[in-house]
């Protein structure tokens, strides 16, 4: 893009270093150049560690002073003024009024002890000098504008009284309160459910058009970019790999990394035998397996390994002095899992997916129902007898940062279940098995002696999978096992899980909120809503022909990615 008079913000040769300790410095940004036109939307796309959030913080002057340095020669020009040279007081005046930001986590970016109204009026009174009464009226108007239901009452609500989507609406109201020229949205929908994501995305796009703002939209998800952006900047490891108009990026990506990002993401349209990974694009040609489609679904005569009948789980809360309140997290869940197949479970947060999984493993006590593993009822089994069955259902949790004990080395993590279940004759044999499994999940043997914090998220998830494999489980539950990971890493892990299924006939219960990922992995898909199973069907069938209205609603909310210029005109 050429620098024109219409450019609102101009970033030139932005270099930022982070000091990690005395010897090591991380070059977070290695010379970044891009422009944001007034009234245009620029999307900054990249995976974790690409420097996209650092760029946003640098523009706002919010980099941590203790260890971040902006190198000389860097320029961030806003209407001709270099923001990096402004005094802190001038910068504060600019921030919130001219440039404002919407953060990723609405729950942690709103102050929990103040009402939403107070937090919006604070901005108005500080920057626009309104009186309390004027500010309050304005806050209600703003909440109405961002589509908050009942703004007159909600203005007095505390953040915890609002849902995630409503909190994000309140954050947006706060950000646009002073009619900023530039809105920076840092992953504004990542923490939200897919149906809410669609609404918030629509809201942001509409506000941007109505208010003639420029927007910097930061995301890891290229599908979202296609829906909102005019101009795309692809970043990796502190460098810009490619930038161009949205048409160019999606239709004729020049850079291998951009092409990889576009291809790694599972889509609803195709189901390749093996998902392409970044190395395929940066190294050489896509492999032949990528073009072949993988058949999915059940024939109907498969042997059943796991059968769940009328599983129920309720939580009880104390209410008042004596009363208790019952919350039914899972209601009457019944399904069957066939040998060598994958059951996908989809649903939004709070739909009871995880609770169901933990209950059927007896990690939570069940309130009712039966779980049959190979014909044996698990829920009524005495604890001693259960030990033999415990090993047969295993789970990989969502957050690889929380599910590995930080005080155990990878080796200890892998050997422990073998010791508990007396797998392997002695320490030597267990060590060898651990090495073989590490190799299986694609980690070097030296990983045995490292602690979880020394691994990246994807590597940690591989260790978690290897831990489950030590026990040779009959059923492996993957609870959002790839959701916290970058798309490229996600593709690698999905391929790993698929390889294990091809090799050992693993059975998966694959829980995810990402419908495209489930389509890629599952033979059968189960849709949950508010603790109930609303629909179970073959995976091709459910996406082609959803019967339940909730399933249809879910499917319609998925960001479709790039569908050509024509499709965008109606956005």
């Amino acid at each position: 893009m050429t620098a024109s008079a219409d450019t609102l913000l101009r970033v030139r040769d932005l270099k930022v270093d982070f000091r990690i300790d005395r010897e090591t410095t991380l070059h977070a940004l290695k010379g970044v150049d891009f422009d944001i036109p007034s009234r245009g939307t620029v999307a900054l796309v990249g995976e974790s560690g690409s420097g996209k959030s650092v760029t946003a913080l640098a523009i706002l002057g919010l980099l941590p002073e203790a260890n971040a340095t902006v190198l000389p020669g860097s320029r961030i020009e806003y209407r001709g003024r270099n923001l990096l040279e402004l005094a802190p007081r001038e910068m504060r005046a600019l921030r919130g009024a001219d440039i404002s930001m919407v953060f990723q986590e609405p729950m942690s970016s709103l102050n929990p002890v103040f009402t939403v109204g107070f937090q919006i009026t604070e901005v108005l009174r500080k920057h626009l000098g309104l009186t309390a009464r004027q500010a309050r009226a304005r806050a209600i108007d703003l909440l109405r504008e961002v589509g908050m239901p009942e703004p007159q009452t909600r203005v007095n609500a505390y953040p915890f009284q609002l849902s995630g989507g409503q909190q994000q609406r309140a954050m947006i109201a706060m950000a646009i309160a002073c009619e900023p020229k530039l809105l920076i949205a840092d992953e504004p929908t990542t923490a939200l459910d897919v149906t809410v994501e669609k609404q918030i995305l629509g809201l942001i796009a509409a506000l941007q058009r109505q208010r003639q703002m420029a927007m910097l939209f930061i995301t890891h998800d290229l599908a979202l970019v296609a829906e909102v952006a005019d101009y795309v900047v692809v970043m990796r490891e502190g460098e810009i790999r490619e930038q161009g108009s949205v048409e160019q990026i999606f239709e004729a990506p020049r850079d291998g990394y951009t092409r990889a990002l576009l291809a790694c993401r599972p889509t609803l349209a195709r189901r390749p035998r093996r998902l392409p990974v970044i190395d395929d694009f940066l190294g050489g040609q896509p492999r032949a397996a990528d073009v072949e489609e993988r058949p999915r679904g059940l024939r109907g005569d498969e042997e059943i390994i796991l059968e769940v009948r009328h599983l129920a789980k309720s939580f009880h809360f104390r209410e008042g002095l004596l009363g208790t309140k019952e919350f039914k997290a899972v209601k009457d869940a019944s399904f069957r899992l066939a040998k060598g197949k994958t059951l996908g479970v989809v649903g939004e947060s709070g739909s009871g997916k995880t609770t169901m999984a933990l209950t059927l493993m007896r990690l939570y006590p069940a309130s009712g129902g039966e779980v049959l593993l190979d014909g044996e009822e698990l829920l009524s089994m005495p604890p001693e007898a259960l030990m033999r069955y415990k090993r047969r259902i295993q789970i990989v949790f969502q957050n690889p940062y929380a599910s590995l004990n930080p005080r155990f080395t990878a080796g200890q993590i892998l050997v422990e279940p073998m010791r508990i279940h007396s797998i392997g004759a002695d320490a030597r044999e267990r060590h060898d098995l651990a090495c073989r499994l590490l190799e299986k999940v694609g980690l070097p043997e030296s990983s045995l002696f490292k602690y979880p914090h020394e691994f990246s998220g994807g590597q940690r998830q591989r260790i978690a999978i290897a831990r489950c494999l030590t026990m040779k489980p009959d059923v492996l539950i993957c609870d959002e096992a790839v959701s916290a990971l970058d798309v490229s890493v996600q593709a690698q892990l999905l391929n790993l899980l698929q390889d294990l299924q091809d090799e050992y006939g693993m059975r998966y219960v694959f829980i995810s909120h990402a419908l495209a990922v489930v389509k890629d992995m599952a033979d059968q898909v189960m849709v949950m809503n508010q603790g109930e199973i609303v629909e179970i069907a073959g995976s091709d069938e459910i996406y082609a022909n959803p019967r339940h209205p909730y399933t249809r609603q879910l499917l319609s909310a998925i960001p479709r990615g790039w569908r050509g210029t024509a499709a965008r005109s109606g956005r």
């Binding site: 990690l363 969502q398 005080r407 155990f408 508990i420 030296s446 045995l448 002696f449 914090h453």
Partner: protein
């Protein structure tokens, strides 16, 4: 080997270093920690040496004149008017006012006096000592060393006992919840609802004997409450964490989850508690000694030294106070700083 994986932060880290090796490497980078560690080791060596009688075994010997000043001040500062030499005269003067009653012990006393005078006469008393002498002419430096042994022993063992009790109780209460939690909370409430000194006196009365062991038991049995509350809170927080669920899923028993999985993750709390309690109990021992529930008269501790120093200070004899205070302050400071550094080094999430 050592392919090295860039961690999240992008730092290259050579592989296969254990937790303690990593902690040690971290400590070596921290100069304050190393200095405090050296001081701590010095105290421990001192304690061990005095424990086995290598040094300061002869601390009760009266080697100097009463209130002999520290060597660097010179002998002229010594006040000749006060001292054991004058005491016999004072005692001898008193029978003259006995209103005609014959003292039945007069003969025996005279003999003892003669004996004492003989002993002190044969022994040349030093006019100054390296860090002065107390009222009886005992070397303050040796007293301080012997006191270090007593005080550190009391502090370390009592703190270990208190923190151990607090950790075990807190782990049970926090992990199991329900009845176990109710029971330990009740116990906690009972212990904290009784005024501290009353509780200490009650336990002292029950144990009914003076000595180091008594002091340790008193402090250990009353001091666990703070640790209990913190550890309980940590266990409440950790027992629902995913890694504990994961341990449950692989079939780890309750006790294994409690002490093998959760404990290392809350050990920094316990460690800080331990260091705080060592410091606290060293000070508590002083208070107990002052109240007369501390160590016996045949033992010296910093507490008994400070107790003696009260009256000495009025006479301008500051050295005993100084010696005990310096010994205590240096140890307490070094211990706190080292515990802080150790906690940082042991916390894998901070790295």
């Amino acid at each position: 080997m050592n392919t090295g994986v860039a961690a999240l932060s992008g730092v290259y880290r050579p592989a296969s270093a254990g937790l303690w090796a990593l902690a040690w490497r971290q400590l070596c980078r921290d100069r304050v920690a190393l200095v405090s560690l050296a001081i701590l080791l010095f105290y421990l060596v001192l304690m061990a040496a005095s424990g086995v009688g290598l040094i300061a075994a002869d601390w009760p010997r009266e080697v100097g004149v009463s209130y002999a000043p520290p060597g660097f001040m010179g002998p002229e500062a010594a006040a000749p008017s006060v001292g054991p030499a004058l005491e016999p005269d004072a005692v001898a003067a008193s029978p003259s006012e006995d209103m005609g009653i014959v003292d039945p012990l007069a003969e025996a006393l005279a003999e003892i006096r003669k004996e004492l005078a003989g002993v002190s006469a044969t022994e040349a008393r030093a006019p100054t000592l390296s860090f002065g002498a107390d009222k009886w002419g005992r070397d303050v430096l040796k007293k301080a060393i012997k006191g270090t042994e007593t005080s550190m022993l009391v502090g370390l063992v009592a703190a270990a006992l208190a923190v151990f009790l607090g950790t075990v109780f807190g782990a049970q209460a926090g992990y199991y919840g329900g009845r176990a939690d109710d029971f330990f909370n009740w116990l906690y409430s009972v212990f904290t609802s009784i005024p501290y000194l009353l509780l200490v006196l009650a336990i002292a009365a029950v144990l009914d004997q003076k000595g180091i062991l008594t002091v340790i038991l008193i402090l250990g049995l009353t001091g666990w409450t703070g640790t209990f509350r913190l550890v309980r809170a940590e266990y409440l927080k950790h027992k629902v964490r995913e890694y504990v669920l994961a341990a449950d899923a692989i079939g780890a028993s309750n006790r294994r989850r409690m002490f093998v999985h959760i404990f290392p993750n809350v050990s920094h709390v316990v460690l800080v508690q331990l260091s705080l309690h060592v410091v606290l109990f060293i000070k508590s021992e002083v208070i107990l000694s002052f109240l007369g529930f501390g160590v016996g008269v045949d033992t010296v501790s910093w507490g008994s030294m400070l107790n003696e120093a009260q009256s000495e200070l009025l006479l301008g004899k500051w050295w005993q106070l100084t010696a005990a205070t310096i010994a205590m302050a240096v140890l307490v400071t070094a211990f706190s700083l080292f515990a802080d550094a150790l906690r940082d080094a042991l916390d894998p999430r901070l790295k």
